[in-house]
Point group: C2
Amino acid sequence: MAVLPSCVRKVISEFEKLPGVGPKSAARMAYFFLRAPSERSVELAKALVQMKKDIVVCKTCFNVSDKNPCDICSDSSRNKHKVCVVEELLDVVAIEASGVYDGLYFVLGGVISPADGIGPENLRMGQLRNRIISYFDSASDNSDTELLEIIIATNPSLEGEATSSYIIDMLSSINEIDHSKIKISRLAMGLPTGADLEYADRLTIKRAIEGRTNA
Amino acid sequence: MAVLPSCVRKVISEFEKLPGVGPKSAARMAYFFLRAPSERSVELAKALVQMKKDIVVCKTCFNVSDKNPCDICSDSSRNKHKVCVVEELLDVVAIEASGVYDGLYFVLGGVISPADGIGPENLRMGQLRNRIISYFDSASDNSDTELLEIIIATNPSLEGEATSSYIIDMLSSINEIDHSKIKISRLAMGLPTGADLEYADRLTIKRAIEGRTNA
């Protein structure tokens, strides 16, 4: 890339830091901005800086938002008796896009991954614990406290499974709450829509058979 | 994406305008900046704006540079008797990276593509014509004018081939120059390094056979 002026190389090197962007894609992106009218560069530049200024993390679910609590947490039409625990922000987006979930969320901020040096202490386990305790506290004067469903929606990966097990253990060790009022569930595992059995991996088929439902 | 704050959606929509970036990659990029320290956003924002400010198009070869003429055109160690005609800026980068070319360049700015409404009049054909004429003008007092090699390095696509043919016709119609002093060449076509004959397409194999060289 020595042939490119330093200002172009700088843009390429910034794009290369993005996830999933290699040197060739980064060059193509920089080149796009070279050819495009200046507004394109200015618009992206402004949007990036503005986003970092405006963004707020919801103190209840740790989703990003432009206010605290976020739109989901403050939406009175949502079911407060369901909390879906996800790894990352984009998981909230994916579940919302499905349009079938009406409960609340909790964003862990990652998964337990010893290989990357990430333990439970690097995730929002304490905050999740507090969130569950406060659900029961706020309803403590009511002996009819409604059942709280905690849906663990970590990814079906090794790390996601380990994190899920950790959460289940952590929740069962909370003494302050009535465990008969908690239901813990996991997202179903099996064949994805449109999949071809012939090409599905063995573990997926195993899970699909184990989790078979009545027809 | 309704669940995301508007400032995040704005960043995603700007990233989606980039070549080869779909909605999912754009979201992942925006999410990267959400998690990364503010400097990442500021650095990219500054680099983009700076690039558009600093960039200069070389009036000789139409490569981008931070000066005019560019580093390649003003490099006295390069062979002035070779001009490699390429479609785009990144083609210059690719050829330079190979380290085997010591001549000059000419960036056409695209290819003839009737489907996209791009004809020769939308490319730098007139400028290429003038560049060739001026080569002979500047050497006109010397009856020993050195041979000028014009290497047409458009892509081996339908459009690249059509553009190449157009250039050859255009060059042969220039009356002001001594055609015995011009050599026009094309990049070799055949099997790419590391290719597997079994998986090569028919046209590539056809070209590899037609262009076979003595062993």
